[in-house]
Symmetry: D2
Subunit: 367 residues, 4 copies
Amino acid sequence: MTRGGVAEQGGNVGRVKVGILGATGLVGQQLVSRLEGHPWFELVALAASERSKGLRYGEATSWMLGPDPPRSVAGTVLCGCGAEDLAGCELLLSALDASAAGELEPLLTRAGFPIVSNASAFRQAPDVPLLIPEINADHLALIDSQRTDRSAGFLVTNPNCSVTGLALALAPLHRAFTVRRVVVTTLQAVSGAGLSGPRALDLVDNVVPFIRGEEEKIESELTKILGRMEGARLCEAELRVSAHCHRVAVQHGHLEAVSVELERSASPEQAARTLAEFEGGLRDLDLPSAPSRPIVVRSESDRPQPRLDRDTGSGMSVVVGRLRPCPVLGLKLELLSHNTVRGAAGGTLLNAELLVARGWLEGRGST
Amino acid sequence: MTRGGVAEQGGNVGRVKVGILGATGLVGQQLVSRLEGHPWFELVALAASERSKGLRYGEATSWMLGPDPPRSVAGTVLCGCGAEDLAGCELLLSALDASAAGELEPLLTRAGFPIVSNASAFRQAPDVPLLIPEINADHLALIDSQRTDRSAGFLVTNPNCSVTGLALALAPLHRAFTVRRVVVTTLQAVSGAGLSGPRALDLVDNVVPFIRGEEEKIESELTKILGRMEGARLCEAELRVSAHCHRVAVQHGHLEAVSVELERSASPEQAARTLAEFEGGLRDLDLPSAPSRPIVVRSESDRPQPRLDRDTGSGMSVVVGRLRPCPVLGLKLELLSHNTVRGAAGGTLLNAELLVARGWLEGRGST
Amino acid sequence: MTRGGVAEQGGNVGRVKVGILGATGLVGQQLVSRLEGHPWFELVALAASERSKGLRYGEATSWMLGPDPPRSVAGTVLCGCGAEDLAGCELLLSALDASAAGELEPLLTRAGFPIVSNASAFRQAPDVPLLIPEINADHLALIDSQRTDRSAGFLVTNPNCSVTGLALALAPLHRAFTVRRVVVTTLQAVSGAGLSGPRALDLVDNVVPFIRGEEEKIESELTKILGRMEGARLCEAELRVSAHCHRVAVQHGHLEAVSVELERSASPEQAARTLAEFEGGLRDLDLPSAPSRPIVVRSESDRPQPRLDRDTGSGMSVVVGRLRPCPVLGLKLELLSHNTVRGAAGGTLLNAELLVARGWLEGRGST
Amino acid sequence: MTRGGVAEQGGNVGRVKVGILGATGLVGQQLVSRLEGHPWFELVALAASERSKGLRYGEATSWMLGPDPPRSVAGTVLCGCGAEDLAGCELLLSALDASAAGELEPLLTRAGFPIVSNASAFRQAPDVPLLIPEINADHLALIDSQRTDRSAGFLVTNPNCSVTGLALALAPLHRAFTVRRVVVTTLQAVSGAGLSGPRALDLVDNVVPFIRGEEEKIESELTKILGRMEGARLCEAELRVSAHCHRVAVQHGHLEAVSVELERSASPEQAARTLAEFEGGLRDLDLPSAPSRPIVVRSESDRPQPRLDRDTGSGMSVVVGRLRPCPVLGLKLELLSHNTVRGAAGGTLLNAELLVARGWLEGRGST
């Protein structure tokens, strides 16, 4: 089934049947919300932990995206995360936390499911694409290393929420000028920590300069994302990254202050132009979640700001501003991306759309 | 009059008579508060703008440091900032904003007043010390270049609130290992912008990635502070600094994420030891505002935090934590300093105390 | 021109030409935003103070509702607030502040403009409707007292932002059970104070228990809104209201804790039913800004909450929860309404739509 | 041992040996902090849950009151809450949560310990004083009903954190004018919920209009506190209270908007005078934690505010402002009290001091 095929068939008939793993969490909620009325996907299963299994979605979920979950799903009964629970799904979107994903995702791919995951458990596995469609769609070739026959399942992941925006902003600069070194300081929103995130006690009149595991993720995921396929293998990009991570009292939107060293120097104006012109090669695919511009460059002195800019491109665009010379590394800038949209659920969904558009789900029947 | 002299005379008799310029603003309030019961200084004049002149301090001031201004000053009538208004002062502490300082400070030094100023107007003047007593007390020699005879006034300044903490944390590293390059990202408190600071509209659920003039100040003041006297001239330190500044929803306490390149590399442990052992050479002077330790190093993974750590050493210690290797520049750390105390009023006061202890006010009568 | 007429004419041809007074402020921005694509109104003039006149809207406006103002208006040149500037407008929407409104609105009505105003200047004038369409559409009859001939202008106002939600929640109870006494405590969002609202310094780790003039407005406007027409005169409702007002660190959404004494007692369940069933009599008019339900009743123990519930009904529904017995006055509840939408721009617009639907603009040509 | 006795003995020798139950929580931390250097009490045991038992206090505690716990206790090994663990204590201060208190406090009183508790478990027991020394010191007579011989232990409690301030502000009005009805709306700080309090997700750009059990506590505790002893029995005050509770993004300080109906009406000026003159009859006892004024009345239009006023009287004074007529109940006002000080640890400590001063611990040896 190709995207074209979907379009031709029209209506619900040809939509890919998807299930969400971890549907009650913050990222799961964003997936539910963004699948509402999705032209390519039909949501057929909401899977949750054993504790919530059997409850209706509306009862089990502390819905945080507005007054109520969409009516179409509020009454849906939550299923478990076993293969038998998910029969009927052609594709799984995983919003599991790392430890659950580490256990469940391999079982489900072995059971034949293609999984597009937001979880960190397998992002660093050498045969798992760490995918941002505008940057490294060619990494999908790694899928073939995962499976021996086309009927088997496979796993594709999207990066950590604070890496996604950084990778998107750096990719065009890397292509044009080759990024050598990056120092990035993040100011991350509370929704990035999910429903069991930080206490108000820690963030009223305060900032916490630490997020467990986050700096390591930024430093290691970026080089994989920007890596190049050499034959069937992925070679990581040769650049060094240093991250300082902070949690601040913001609901959504990770802000990042970045200093970059480029191999071939670029003026702030050249960099701005390179970023603004970046298209990411998705235009012809008409992916429903792809923003009209992956990167929006702003020229004001005090932007981007989380509250004002996080919903740019329905939360799928990275907003870059304050491009200026860096006395130490050459170029500096500020970037913002919506952490639960582009940095999580929206990124997962865009990856799933790319899989469909590129035919990776073809030939698969309902499991 | 030396510090010793002050001590010998005891009581109020021998205390230096000081006036505050800009007494109603946030920094002025901190000065008022910290002069309450000060052993060396007697507050004899509270000077404000023409608009407030003649009002009582308690009426004219929107006091932000607790329920009420100290009783001893609440009823004091505000005077103007003219030399005649301030006759009776042996020393002026200036909490004026930059433009008022640019106009008034030269008039007052010419009228014979020594001024210790928090204002930015003359920080970059080549003959004006940009003083942090623990770091560059020898820069006081510049005073001689300012005046032709000992009866004349002079000006000493303290650095910008976000520079002070950075300079204190870097100075011992610079001495021991020579700092070459610094990338610093600040998360600055709202009190740093004074009484006419940012709107709640801009900081509820938001961060503003810009503070006018701040990055320039950090980049230029640090090299002056860390400079060396060569004869009567100050040679700036040869290091490069790049700053990214943010305003966050915190009352007090500037947090700074720093990556540092050292000429002679140091492990995080060596750096921690160097910082923790730093004394700053003030011990013998017994300056009343000097903290027992200028730098406090914490070993927890998530500290310093503004709300928890800003009052360390009565707000006069810089708190450093998260010392760890930086993949790009070699060493990284997080630091916090109280912006209206060490970074402003407390810094001003410490400078004033150093002047007294070193005898710079000797031989001056009341003007 | 009736609403039906508008519909029949279709397209832009038959839309009413409107101008916004005070277009750059927060309420003006909401008006601009909600007029984008409005089926009945065509925005033809953006009027601002003399200071901004001549600038393009996008330059003059510190846009707070997202990344950018709508493209259709960003390039529009701001005009002044004089009658000559506004020729071409068939209707004016006023988002002026009280003092500007006090001066300009009478000049403009005398010049023949119908004005629907959010300003407080004339809310208490005996011949000016203080209009909430679902509650007191019959108060429009007061317009006839304002003007001697049908060609003249007139003024209609909407209530204060914290009164609107309260009036909507109390009106059905008043009709069914007669409200006698009300004690209301508000927790109001910062956007209620407009672009020159409270400082972050006052709202980080703090609440301000005072909003100038607000308690008086609540106590006096409510009785007018709930009043009855007796012939051509409006008789205020005989009920007593006591208000306690607070400003809290919330962007949008005024939360109000209300205790009510009813003449004929009602159980929480009866009250809930009465509120949930309230329609407001607008259904047949199909006003574009009217929400499907003016009042949404929630049954959770911890709702409404500003962040979750303020956009209910596109910000035009009042959300009521926590209906329970009050040991003192009989019934208590919590309500929320979006202060810059239902409580300001959305309320103004709904009033304007009612005027059109009821034919109050008929027979008027372009001035 | 009487207070006088303590004073006479001087030094540590005569200090009462106290233990803290629940020492690692927020209220426990405040107790630890306020016992540092206490003239009457010597802290000899820090008791915690089985989980923390055996750890050093500094390791086991997530200290929230500044950089570090006092040095004197940081190295103390936590003991359990059994009678044997606490041998050596002459008095226990309980900062346990309600369920732990419900289980442990009876065991410990039976084992002979006097306990002064902040927990809610037994506040409503008819023979347990719900004590605020300035209001109802005579309720201590209830202790005699609790025990059959003087060697046995007993329990005294302090009220809920949002009730304490309310009771203190109403008590003088009740005495002078007889309070009949009260409607109170609270805006409560996050520290009121302890270390496992609300998520940042719920309080950034938001308010939660619900705190489990809180309204019930306010409505029931107030009448007990203001009750009168009739012989050996306590008769609750005959007044009706209605509470609306909210959690807001404030660290410390519960703000309460109160409307009061008095039997004998009082003008705002009379009420202000009555409150300001209130002494509470503790002056002669010189209790170390008693503030010089239990109630501080402010005359500004916008006070009290949590951040500015919570530390009035070292957090032990209730601050009252905005006294004005209430159109519904007669009088209205705003009050603030520090929830973890006067409303918890400070209140507990003051109660303990009263017990000592009144001789309730006399004749008891170390258990």
